[in-house]
Symmetry: C2
């Protein structure tokens, strides 16, 4: 019955497409058929098969290390973690009032934030497509709330533009989009798009540009209620006899172009920053703490690894107990999962092969500084109607981020007063913490003059001076990826590396967890087949 | 010393600009100087002066009525509210399991949602620039959480496009923006923009289009890691040895134009829908309930107004006690603030002047239907990674909105399964509630096939059938505004109207509150000066 309609399930259809056309086509088809196939994470890992009593020593109780411990123990392995710090989590870290930490160089800071306020000096946001992080949050009971990346009412600021006055993001965004639409509509009307777009499409394009660009019926972007509905009003529509709105005057495209504020618009469009993003309620370390509830008893804290030595039968790790230095300690297991950040690992004696060794040395860590500032009142909300989100500036502080919780509640608040990368980060790292904070207050006052009167205290984390990472995250070049990435991730004898540096998503927790899951899957396969 | 620099405070400068150039210029200047001047709300209203024991009868315990009661009582007035329903809030309303209500026509629905789940059948989101609503939330202790309007991972759906398959918003958004940028870059390179943009600006424009449109170095928008960083991947970057990302294939501009899905993009750009938006934690009626904590004792519930009669000395309102119908009751006060929706007010005998009477009759109310659907599991999160936000479709249901709380927590969930305006709303209103719900499930299954297996129960509110409003909100035409708006808002003898219909922000709670504040300010002025 060759002409009868055939009912095929979506799954069968996918499998057919996969067979006929290879995996990329299949993935594409899966996406169009509505499956959320974009993540490499396919749900809780299944490590079937008998580990035969094998033991695994895990170096580092960050998210990569604790993920490995949790899953391997569940699969029947004996596991132990050695952790440098007196706490778990690694860069999954939240600073609250009373917390203290010491930088390389010896300066100790004690955070003085009021109760309930905090700073996430490391990761602070979770994209919705970071399926592994989200799944562990669900499994471990970590409550999430939205993280606002794009707040239309936050600022874009360039020292040399608009007399130094910060501009609302909505204004730059709407005015750029509106005037780009106006230009394209003009050339379309002039017949200059005739070779590029069909006649039928040109008519629809004009409609689309008018809608999308908030153009008027003459395809112009100018001060009227249309553009006000995109960029905002001078006076909003109101109620009663004082209700008539006043539209605002767009910024000329030429001024936007010269200001270079358009550079920041892509920060709101990028895949990793698209809505909906999350943060754990109460601080990012709620994730680390949830892992500790599961695997806390296998973590040995204050253990500074000094040597990693493998032989045919296992791995011996030498470490110093930082609370009782003296005789070096040793731990031994059949296998070792090492999540130690590369700038530190590269300095340790580790007898891995030349390829992995070269890979370890090939990846510099980016420099980054975060500064948290406590203020007497939430002036950004009360005076400027900025609730969450980020302002961008060309000042060395680069970003000011507003808290994504406790909205509209009055009282004190903590801003991320600087989030610095690149040369500015090296410069700030070289300063004593108090000086970093003073500069953040001084620079920030150019955007929020309330800083000077309302500032109370601050804390600063310069990642290159953190003794447990000596940097922010793995900074892979394309060339290094091509030459070294596979060598970094391959199991070398009885040692395998994991962490954000062993991923294509450096600096993100998802990279740490996915690299760990990939590493333990391969390790387990080797153990089961042995 | 005429050449010495003068230090002027921002406030003095503003006042100078105001004096010299009138209020529009001053508003504009205020905005550029960083004041959040855009709202008509300037903080808690101050009603100075002695009301001399005057009494005010308020009709309707919605937000307009309760705002008036709260502020007038604080200023020394004697106030009473008559409310038709057995609850306060009016359209500020949340449906939870166990709640029941009866439509015009007599059908009663009882909501069967599981505990903790709810639907806001009326207002459901609060823009950050609705300063009056936010200020009352702060003053009355209503906790807020973000409302997600734009979720890049939600769907746009057109029955006749892409074989009926829903498309991710991020794909349509990025592909439209990318290809518009590509077109404009092309004509710029061809010299076709030379008369419109200066040479210097053209170079910067090319850079901006490349950044903003996710173009490659040849200013092309096509499948590569650039465009993937805007529209998403077929396979996301991952960790370990399975980490390499696979970019996705953009949708051709011509297909986007023909699909007309671009129409929906403006829903995410409009001023009222820009980030950051809010919802009260636990349901929109938390605002109404907070007002009731303040003014509950002056509300007489179940009071159906049948006549409003003013004379030189006061206003007499006749009403029926719906719990004990029989003899009509009367209430009298020196003044009356009437917030009764116009479709109902227009049917009552009210002795106001011809102008106000004509205004009352000039404003039809829009039709709208909301349908809440409870499902066995949150498949939109678990299967499709959609956390909050809204999918748009050309099906009669028009929108599907996902809950903005309880993210990633598993368990059951309630979707807004339809949010309907226009002709579809009239059509749905004419159906019995069970039939409306059945259709919402049927239509929704075209976007989420999981609907059929996971649907549990539903509830439907057709605003034209709600006896306390007989419509969704005031639907002002430009012509009606010009002729009738001022007449509607003017005090007529001893009666003044308030509510979202007496504002330029119909259907928004801010309109109700601002109209009320404007009305009581004028009323108070009259009382004090009398």
């Amino acid at each position: 019955m060759p002409n009868e309609p055939v009912t095929v399930s979506r799954r069968d259809l996918l499998s057919l497409i996969g067979t006929l056309s290879g995996s990329a086509a299949m993935y594409q088809a899966m996406t169009s058929l509505g499956f959320a196939a974009d993540s490499g994470y396919k749900g809780p890992i299944k490590l079937d098969g008998d580990p035969k009593g094998a033991s695994v020593l895990i170096l580092g109780a960050g998210l990569a290390g604790m993920t490995a411990a949790l899953e391997l123990r569940k699969a029947g392995y004996r596991v132990q973690i050695l952790e440098f710090n007196s706490r778990a989590g690694g860069r999954n870290w939240t600073l609250r009032g009373g917390d203290s930490f010491t930088e390389l160089g010896g300066v100790t800071q004690t955070c003085e934030f009021e109760q309930g306020l905090y700073l996430n000096p490391g990761p602070w946001r979770i994209p919705r497509h970071h399926r592994a992080v989200l799944d562990y949050c669900r499994r471990l009971g970590v409550a999430l709330e939205p993280f606002t990346q794009l707040n239309h009412n936050a600022f874009l600021h360039a020292t040399g533009a608009f007399g130094g006055a910060p501009q609302r993001i909505r204004e730059i965004k709407a005015d750029f989009q509106g005037q780009v639409s106006e230009l394209l509509a003009k050339v379309t009307q002039q017949g200059r798009l005739d070779e590029l777009v069909t006649k039928e499409d040109r008519e629809t394009l004009m409609q689309a540009l008018r809608s999308w660009g908030a153009l008027d019926r003459n395809y112009a972007y100018k001060a009227n209620l249309n553009s006000a509905e995109a960029r905002g009003y001078v006076k909003d529509p109101g109620g009663g006899l004082t209700a008539v709105p006043i539209p605002s005057e767009p910024i000329a495209l030429s001024d936007i172009l010269k200001s270079r504020l358009w550079r920041h618009l892509q920060n709101f469009a990028r895949y990793n920053f698209q809505t909906t993003m999350f943060q754990p309620v109460g601080g990012m370390d709620m994730i680390g703490k949830a892992f500790v509830r599961e695997v806390g008893e296998v973590i040995r804290y204050d253990a500074k690894v000094t040597r990693i030595q493998q032989d045919e039968h296992g791995v011996t790790v030498t470490y110093t107990d930082l609370k009782a230095p003296g005789m070096p300690q040793q731990a031994r297991a059949d296998w070792c999962i090492c999540t130690i950040p590369l700038p530190i690992l590269g300095q340790l004696p580790v007898n891995v092969g030349g390829r992995m060794k070269a890979a370890i040395d090939a990846v510099p860590y980016s420099s980054s500084v975060k500064i948290g500032l406590q203020f007497k009142r939430r002036f950004w909300e009360e005076d400027e109607a900025i609730y969450g989100g980020i302002s961008y500036t060309d000042l060395p502080i680069q970003q000011i981020a507003y808290p994504n919780s406790g909205y509209n509640s009055g009282g004190k608040g903590v801003l991320l007063g600087a989030y610095i990368f690149g040369p500015n980060a090296f410069e700030f790292t070289s300063l004593p913490p108090a000086e970093r904070i003073a500069r953040a207050v001084e620079f920030g006052a150019a955007i929020h003059p309330q800083y000077r009167a309302k500032y109370e205290n601050g804390v600063s984390v310069a990642w290159h001076r953190m003794p447990f990472t000596m940097g922010c995250a793995g900074d892979w070049s394309e060339a290094a990826r091509a030459e070294h990435y596979a060598n970094l991730c391959q199991i070398d004898g009885r040692i395998v590396l994991a962490g954000e540096h062993a991923s294509y998503i450096p600096a993100w927790q998802e990279g740490a967890i996915l690299s760990s899951l990939d590493a333990i899957a391969r390790l387990h396969e080797r153990v089961v087949k042995a």
